[in-house]
Amino acid sequence: MRDSHLSMERVSLSFGAVEVLRDFSLEVGEGEFVAVVGPSGCGKTTLLNLFSGFTRPSAGLVRCNGRIRMVFQHDGLFPWRTVAENISMGLREVRDVQERARQLKEMLALIGLEGFGEHYPHQLSGGMRQRVELARALAGETDILLLDEPFSALDYLTRLRLRKELARMLRERPRTVVLVTHDTEEAAQLADRVIVLSERPAHIRCELTLGLERPRDATNPQVVEAVHRILTELGLEHDPENVLV
């Protein structure tokens, strides 16, 4: 993670008549974990596509320093590769065969799937598959992780478990992370900074910085407080101390 950072300066983007972003600026520092929440269809995923270079802005500047890997909402594992072969994709740059085998073993242990290396993705549960995706993205040398609602297809308890796991994995292998999610609790539990977006064309409604160590519990009072503030900002909860007349 050498000197990796992401930035957008006064970026605008339209798809035909639909204006997705207008004059949007955002900076993500090295090793920082930023979560982006907002109403559906507001262009959260578009932010990741811009950072990854998949989408080009209509105007403005996107800067991206470092090697990027993206984890997608839908199954991004290659179904024709076993778990071990999928994770090994992240280790392609490791030339030494023994070193690659060692790191593969380490990743399998990190996600608690020792003994599943020879399984194919369709033989695993949704939660296990998502774990393999994370392991693949974290394996080897990368700098930046872009996570596009990586847990949205999972049930609540599995989601809680995987959040913990992601936080633990990031402590062992620090990365610069941008997480897009509609789950405010997930954002508040995982991120150093939460960005709340408005409706289209998206701008930043508010920014919350959580000065807490990672990993943390979902029921940590500061996390709960952050969730409350995000929901208030989205107009979904009422703030008694700040009643608008």
């Binding site: 990854s52 998949f54 990027i68 890997r69 993206m70 997608f72 839908h74 199954d75 991004g76 290659f78 179904p79 024709w80 590769r81 994709m89 992240g90 392609r92 740059e93 194919y120 993705p121 369709h122």
Partner: protein, 257 residues
């Protein structure tokens, strides 16, 4: 393709059907429901079988037919798969060629028989040509459709992990289309086997298709049935052989949904 587990005894059911059919056949022929010259008895067919094996004709015909099917089919696969991939990749080429491909896909390959004989005479070449015409277009169209249905997320993942050019083709594109291509190969191989019989009837001097045509001309209904049985059995065998491809671990995902 879900497989239901059935008790072992049900495996014997097809055998029971076979025995019943043989009994019905013997009964019909021994009570002379149809004249012997039009409806050979099981015994005469069995004798015909032995005769065809002893003279070596059956073996020769099988080899001739299988050689033609294999050549025409493999030629179609080796030319059709790359073309299908290319068309999947190039939208303009696809737009230009798709109507023509669909035309030939829906034109019966048997309509080519007159040209096949005029151009290539009698023997292996016209049959191989007809089999090629029967299998090439389905293979191209199936490969193209398979390529088009690869989820775009796979290509984005491939880019993230540095798969380019050769690695992209061999480690992403080909494995992603493999299950659909295998299904297309099964259908096409069956089609080729149907076509070779017709081709040999008209443009052959040997082969199983010629054998049944020859038997009909010589009024040897017993040998005609021998030919029919062998053609059917080989057709089933070819399909069973290609089903083995679906058991390869790295393509199982395509069949387990």
């Amino acid at each position: 393709m879900r497989e239901e587990r059935l008790p072992g005894s049900t495996r014997l059911l097809p055998l029971a059907v076979l025995v019943a059919a043989l009994l019905l056949w013997s009964a019909l022929s021994s009570f002379r429901v149809f004249p012997e010259s039009l409806f050979p008895s099981p015994q005469s067919v069995a004798r015909g079988f032995w005769e065809e094996i002893r003279t070596g004709r059956l073996f020769n015909d099988m080899v001739a037919s299988l050689f033609r099917v294999t050549s025409g089919f493999l030629l179609a696969v080796f030319l059709g798969t790359p073309l299908g991939l290319w068309l999947g990749y190039r939208a303009r080429a696809r737009a230009a060629l798709l109507p023509a491909l669909n035309f030939f896909r829906n034109l019966s390959p048997l309509a080519w028989i007159p040209f096949a004989i005029l151009w290539f005479g009698i023997g292996d070449v016209p049959a191989i040509f007809l089999i090629f015409m029967a299998s090439f277009f389905p293979v191209v169209l199936a490969t193209m459709a398979a390529y088009a249905s690869i989820p775009s997320v796979y290509f984005r993942v491939a880019e993230n992990y540095g798969f380019r050019n050769r690695a992209l083709l061999l480690e992403v594109t080909l494995p992603a289309i493999m299950p659909e291509v295998i299904t297309a190969l099964r259908v096409t191989a069956g089609l080729s086997w149907l076509v070779v019989v017709a081709a040999e009837m008209i443009a052959g001097r040997d082969g199983l298709g010629f054998a049944i045509w020859d038997a009909r001309n010589g009024l040897r209904m017993d040998l005609l049935v021998v030919g029919m049985i062998v053609i059917g059995l080989i057709g089933v065998f070819i399909d069973r052989l290609l089903v083995q491809l679906t058991r390869i671990p790295s393509v199982r995902w395509g069949y387990e949904r």
